[in-house]
Symmetry: C2
Subunit: 173 residues, 2 copies
Amino acid sequence: MKKNTSDNHDHHGEQSVSHNHNDCIDSALATAEILCVEQGQRLTKVRRRALELIWESHRPLGAYQLLAKLAEEGFNSAPPTVYRALDFLLNAGLIHKVESMNAYLGCSHADKDHQGYFLICDDCHNVMESDYQDIHSALIAKAAQQGFELRAKTIELTGLCADCKMPSEGGRT
Amino acid sequence: MKKNTSDNHDHHGEQSVSHNHNDCIDSALATAEILCVEQGQRLTKVRRRALELIWESHRPLGAYQLLAKLAEEGFNSAPPTVYRALDFLLNAGLIHKVESMNAYLGCSHADKDHQGYFLICDDCHNVMESDYQDIHSALIAKAAQQGFELRAKTIELTGLCADCKMPSEGGRT
DNA sequence: GTTGTAATTGTTATATCATAACAAAAGTTT
DNA sequence: AAACTTTTGTTATGATATAACAATTACAAC
């Protein structure tokens, strides 16, 4: 079983993603610090490290995968440790849960109101978060036509990402 | 015998029944029979009964809840029994999995191509399946703009259903 | 109707995901 | 420091799902 460790920060493709991944981790963490201070929340060591590890994996991370990484670093290795950290991060809007994978992903827009859509590649298993505001509005309207008041949503789209559609151009992770 | 393909079933509680629920079970089962014959699939006793029980519950049913019901009726009570039946029904398009609930729901449109959207009431926990074809098209287009080729999707909307928004009119289960 | 084959089901065990309950420690306020 | 709140440690269990292999059943070919 080949498993990527936290050292693989590669964002799987030359085309679709051309940023330095360390930067996105740094900015996510910086944003998290600011948000927590603003909201009077405490980003403790384990919470902060959990968030970093989720970002470093750069794809959705299972709770027990995260727990193992935390345990390697000397944190407590019982499940409540990781689920508490995940709960905190979810409530703070710093991560999302990908329901169809039972896995957790850093939120790319934690600092602003947004509507998360996830594009999950069947092939490389990378996940991209998008924000389709107009579709969100349309969904609210459609639901309202049926008398339904929308409060939250889970939108997970699976298929082939740009890189995996063109195997000649991009390697698979 | 044509299947009832209308949306907007009032799936609200055991008591308030604005349609005859037995009819929708019967038509779902009749459709299932036809589809299985067409596709050379065998709707065995346990598969058929699993599908009936899912429809009878009239809201998403967990695998182990279903297993318990099957066991009461003399079917084998080990987990593979129910997961095999669920796999079969999922592959045949006769049920859907509601990812955010880890539960299974009869498909209201098994006999036609459709795009499932689930409206999940936070209050009464009923789930309605809708088919927003235009939003689906918009999603395909948006994803394509990002180079993503959409193959499947999970869209689960939570909020308040019509009945629960008006407590004066409808009882809660 | 027996035989061969594939599909289905039975059975045991285990993997994976998540929470309950209560004790201990650390942070915060006074 | 005392009182209080939040966070973390610890043990146990609940909930969801699959692997692996044996036994049985359905069904077609003979």
